[in-house]
């Protein structure tokens, strides 16, 4: 738990974060809006007292209500991992700015987030499918993409907690087993 990191972040990123800086164990988390993400990442990367130069991960998240892009960063100047959550991306037309201007290695990570969630990263020169075949239509890790035998859809509704339906049995839009193009 790096208390000084919290102070430094509050000084450098005043006004750009949404909500307080949260810390738990060895992680510090800040939340930003997707439009501010490039500026925040640049400040984190370039500031002499922050120096978050290593991008450890770039992940997409589908919370059911919205989508988020989560960055994990490491700095030699701090004991903690820093998590930057760009939240508030809409589920119907997910767009986020790309981090490839800062870390070219994020190109493939963003391709994967696009492939799995449909998040379009503006500024990524190569936004195409990476893990699924090129002509695949769905985005597998979205919460409305259900696996073939999800027990939550069985008539008996399951007994264990994990088998209870967490999504409606007939989602709006028809049978999810049918592949269909994402809504444009």
């Amino acid at each position: 738990m790096d208390r000084t990191l919290k102070n430094r972040l509050e000084v450098r990123l005043a006004g750009l974060t949404r909500g307080p800086v949260r810390q738990r164990y060895d992680e510090t988390e800040i939340r930003v809006s997707p439009g501010d993400a490039p500026k925040v990442l640049t400040i984190l990367h370039d500031s002499i007292d922050l120096r978050f130069e290593i991008l450890a991960d770039l992940a997409g998240v589908d919370t059911g209500a919205e989508m988020q892009v989560v960055y994990h960063l490491w700095s030699p100047a701090s004991d903690d991992w820093l998590r930057v959550v760009a939240e508030g991306i809409s589920r119907d037309d997910p767009r986020a700015p790309s981090a490839t201007f800062l870390w070219p290695g994020a190109e493939w990570l963003e391709r994967e987030a696009y492939d799995m969630f449909g998040i379009v990263f503006e500024g990524n020169r190569d936004l195409r499918r990476i893990l699924m075949p090129a002509d695949y239509l769905s985005f597998p890790l979205r919460k409305d993409f259900l696996l073939g035998d999800d027990a939550s859809r069985t008539p008996g509704a399951g007994v264990r907690h994990s088998e209870r339906a967490q999504v409606p049995a007939t989602p709006a839009g028809g049978d999810p087993a049918v592949r269909r193009a994402p809504a444009s």
Binding site: D57, A59, W108, M132, A134, P140
Partner: protein, 446 residues
Amino acid sequence: MPTRRQPAQSATTNADPKAAPNARAAGGRRASAKPDVRGVGPRGRISADDPRVTLEQEIGSDLYEPIPPFPIKTEREGEFYSLRDGEIFLNIGPHHPATHGVLRLVLKLSGEQIVDVDPVIGYLHRGVEKICENSDYYHVIDQVDPLEYLSSLFQEWPAVMAFEKLMDVEVPRRAEYIRVLTGELLRISSHTLYMGFMALDLGGLTPILYSFIERDEIVEMLASITGARMLFNYYRIGGVNGDLNHEFMSRLGDWMSRAGKQAEAITALLNENEIFLRRMRDVGTMDRATALRYGVTGANIRACGVPFDLRRAHPYSVYPEIDFNIPTREEGDSLARYLMRVDEIKESIRIIDQCLHQMPDGPIMAKLPRLLRPRPGRAWAAVEAPRGSLGVYAMSDGTDQPFRFRIHDPSFMHLGVVPHMLPGNLLADTMAIVSSLDPVMGGVDR
């Protein structure tokens, strides 16, 4: 005399009267061939378990992706798939004699020199993250094993660490020491295999046999405590699954007397071999800035002069109590990456020695309820796997299944740096460079 040479076309192909009528014109698109399908059912309404075969539904209308892809979707694709004078495409894979797995490299060559490369991955994408979102926490540990199958325990480790953060569980010290011990054993096995595969991909068929001798011994050792040779499923949230037993200790004691002998045998074969050195020295040089910007971790970045090792940079488990060095090299070429891992084997043997001496007594598993329900929240944990920093980002919503289970794989990032490193080298250096990065496709594709 035409000065423009058509790519990959020979005069005889078109003139051959015996050519099959549907022969594909060189350089053009493949004539679409529907495969012979039995039991075609109505589309879209068949469940995944229906035994009637529908090749079209499972595989798609094209058996494989055409070169160039049609239509061109992105800027980079357009730049890559347009040929200039004298350039050809060469497709390596997804099935190829190099043993790193199903990786497809589309090379753009001008003569022997590589102009550009487009690695295509995803041939082993198994949907592990989605399966984990619909599984119990125990099942997640099992599902996450086959990712980097050569170092299974390192896949389980960050998952287990992330879950322990979500459940506020403290791991007993003996369990931590066992984790480090088994992890370092597996690191030695993985690096020895790497040395063998490095030689195999360059054409040397002997070192791989030594590697497999070492791997078989280590893996039998681990099988005596975990029960499996390869996909161990050994770490648990709060500890490990079983304690060390007599068989393990006797095998380990025997092995310690010849620890690293096979690696030494391989270095005796390779380190002064002129062909090996000439093929690896100054090939695929990566400088420090590139490595940092592309997210390269592990031995690959330490070979560029950046001493970034998560065991020291962000210590976890009981590594602060163990004394070991971080070897670093300056050159950043394939030879440096290879020699890095040879050095790391020696460091791992030291760590194992210290673990055996410092092993405390005590329980190997923390007390946990049967149905695991962590608090809602997020956790990130990363370990230093043999290939780099392997991270897990877990989100929990309070139920007994993880809400989001994201695995950050080091080999994925390393293959992302291949389009930057490969151009300018010759075709024969492709394997020297890609193998020296040590990718494992199970982890890349997840």
